[in-house]
């Protein structure tokens, strides 16, 4: 076992649920989500669009849209730098604020719009540093410049006084990283940080994040829908479907032996995986990709049982009766009747 696995989790989420009131009734965006992240570990959260990945991460940060009358349940135990264990979902707003940007950092998907266009990037970093590290203006500015150097932005001394629109997308995402890392967080939540970027830039950013994580030992919740990225960078994976985690496992186990039919389908429909799996390919005749039929059901009319049942090739009657439990076998937890039966057997 690696040393990470043995340490106690830095973040332990239990039964997290978030719902929003809309004109048509409540949407259960996230339901009964549980996972843990240990110090230095990267947990990847994958799933289709709308499966609740962003809502999960925003709820943890306390940034979910409050105007939609959000309802949050469950616990999220976070070990602070001073060793205290706090429930993030239960903190008064002022304490949450003290954690945000300080011990909890966050990076968003859209580097082009996530920075304030009328403030220099230096000011945007320094602002957070002044607040949390109580540095004065000058020191904060110097700190901001150091952070830019840390994220490998060339000519940082000059860039620190520039505005976001003067930077390219990749550079802006570096600035976002510098911003999130400015106060040395112990947990970094990255919501699809590279989706908007080109592959070559993505590789740069991911390498940078990997390096920083190694240097600081922070934990990371990495939201993505790119399974390639997951395979390359994550330690553990949680797969979400329709607001629930359907499978979570160490990354090697998940790719080697996916247990949930959805996970299996997901991997099978990747051309790269298909190619590797398939025996020698005849030129001109390609193997069909194994597609998952159908589409995600509407959040307003969730099926009574397993949400994946309508698309599942192994569906049986019991699947429609009730939502299966997230059952654990070793490091792995799966929400599927088939898996539960297998375990029992």
């Amino acid at each position: 076992m690696n040393p990470i696995a043995s340490a106690s989790p830095r973040l332990e989420v239990q039964g997290l649920s978030t719902s929003f009131a809309t004109e048509a009734g409540r949407i259960q965006s996230v339901a009964d989500v549980s996972f843990a992240i240990r110090p230095g570990e990267t947990l990847a959260l994958v799933g289709e669009s709308g499966s609740g990945k962003s809502v999960t991460s925003l709820t943890l940060m306390g940034l979910h849209a409050k105007t939609s009358h959000a309802q949050v349940e469950g616990q999220a135990w976070f070990v602070r730098r001073d060793g205290r264990r706090v429930n993030l979902l239960d903190l008064p707003e002022s304490e949450k604020r003290a954690l945000r940007g300080n011990e909890l950092g966050m990076i968003f998907q859209e580097p082009m719009t996530s920075l304030n266009p009328v403030l220099t990037i230096g000011e945007q970093i320094a602002e957070s540093v002044r607040l949390h590290l109580k540095l004065d203006r000058k020191a904060a500015h110097a700190h901001a410049q150091r952070m830019l150097e840390l994220v490998e932005i060339p000519a940082a001394a000059q860039r620190v006084n520039e505005y976001p629109h003067q930077l390219s997308g990749g550079m802006r995402q570096r600035v976002m990283i510098a911003l999130a890392m400015a106060c040395n967080p112990t947990l970094l939540i990255a919501d699809e940080p590279t989706t908007a970027l080109d592959v070559t830039i993505q590789a740069q950013i991911l390498a940078l994040m990997g390096r920083l994580q190694k240097e600081t030992g922070m934990s990371m919740l990495f939201v993505t829908h790119n399974l390639g990225v997951v395979a390359q960078y994550a330690d553990a994976v949680a797969v979400m479907y329709a607001g629930r985690i359907v499978e979570s496992a160490p990354v090697h186990d998940l790719f080697a032996r996916p247990a949930h039919p959805y996970t299996r389908g997901l991997l099978a429909c990747l051309p790269g995986v298909a190619r590797r799996r398939a025996s020698p390919v005849l030129p001109g005749r390609r193997p069909q990709l194994v597609a998952i039929p159908g589409q995600v059901s509407s959040p307003f009319a969730p099926p009574p049982g397993c949400a994946f049942a309508p698309r599942c090739t192994h569906r049986r009657e019991a699947c429609d009766a009730r939502m299966p439990m997230l059952d654990a076998g070793g490091d792995r937890r799966v929400r599927c009747i088939g898996f539960t039966e297998e375990l029992a057997a």
Partner: protein, 329 residues
Amino acid sequence: MTSATLASENLLEIRNLKKYFGKGSHPVRAVDDVSFDIRKGETLGLVGESGSGKSTIGRLLTRLVDPTGGAMSYQAQGSDAPPQDLAQLSQSQFRPLRSKVQIIFQDPYASLNPRMRIREVLAEALDTHGLAKGAARKPRIEQLLQQVGLRPEHAERFPHEFSGGQRQRIGIARALAVEPQFIVADEPLSALDVSIQAQVVNLLGELKEQLGLTLLFISHDLDVVEYLCDRVVVLYLGRVMEIAPTQALYASPQHPYTRALLAAAPIPDPAQRRVVPLLQGDLPSPANPPSGCVFRTRCPLAEERCASADMQLREVQPGHWHACWRNDL
């Protein structure tokens, strides 16, 4: 390189194609001196990073934008008529050809008029070219829907009643409606979820086989391109870096950029983690491209001579072209 007649296997020969946006001293050189062939019945992949001019080439071929220069010779399949230079045709001269050359777009949400029923969408395509009139109309629409895996009753629905994958299918049906020979697919997958992408990839593969289509498949997903395409053109900053059969390209990329691109794509297999040779820096501005080889500013192997000479494509293996001095990669 312009030829009076096309090589027999070619549907389209693109020569020195240019598209500059904007006037003044620094126009955006979206496509700059691009030449390649598209063979009858093949699937040609067009890859490159954002802003490399992929979509612009697709739009030039369908004359949604007018070229700044160059030629696009087209010889209709099964016809002895002399080839036509699509670049020289006026919009009205090009109109009849539009039934031969079609395009599918990236964004399945923006590419369908929200106010038109699917039946109307398809009927418009048929009407424009005077196809399947009268009693033949309804069965033809049903056939098209079936072809793309939708049900006939879907014809009466509006686009917003469909999921992204289904909408993409409608987009494909619309392109197929006019019985084209050649379809440009401009990143038809990038807006779709992974689980849906496979459905569309399979559909495109099937249709191509069934209808004998020629496909220009634009994508930045190298895995899909490898899976679907026969040959691949690699673009960088509006220029062609490499052209090769798919297997040759993925097995032995000749251009440093192609290599970097392939190396940067994460492999969905935790067993194959790798330290990637990273490209430094960002894409230069297409309004102000570097002199000589446009890739040299990010090239790990750049030398002095890269800055001066204009790089031309060279054929290193039969059918394998690239634009770099080096042969030792």
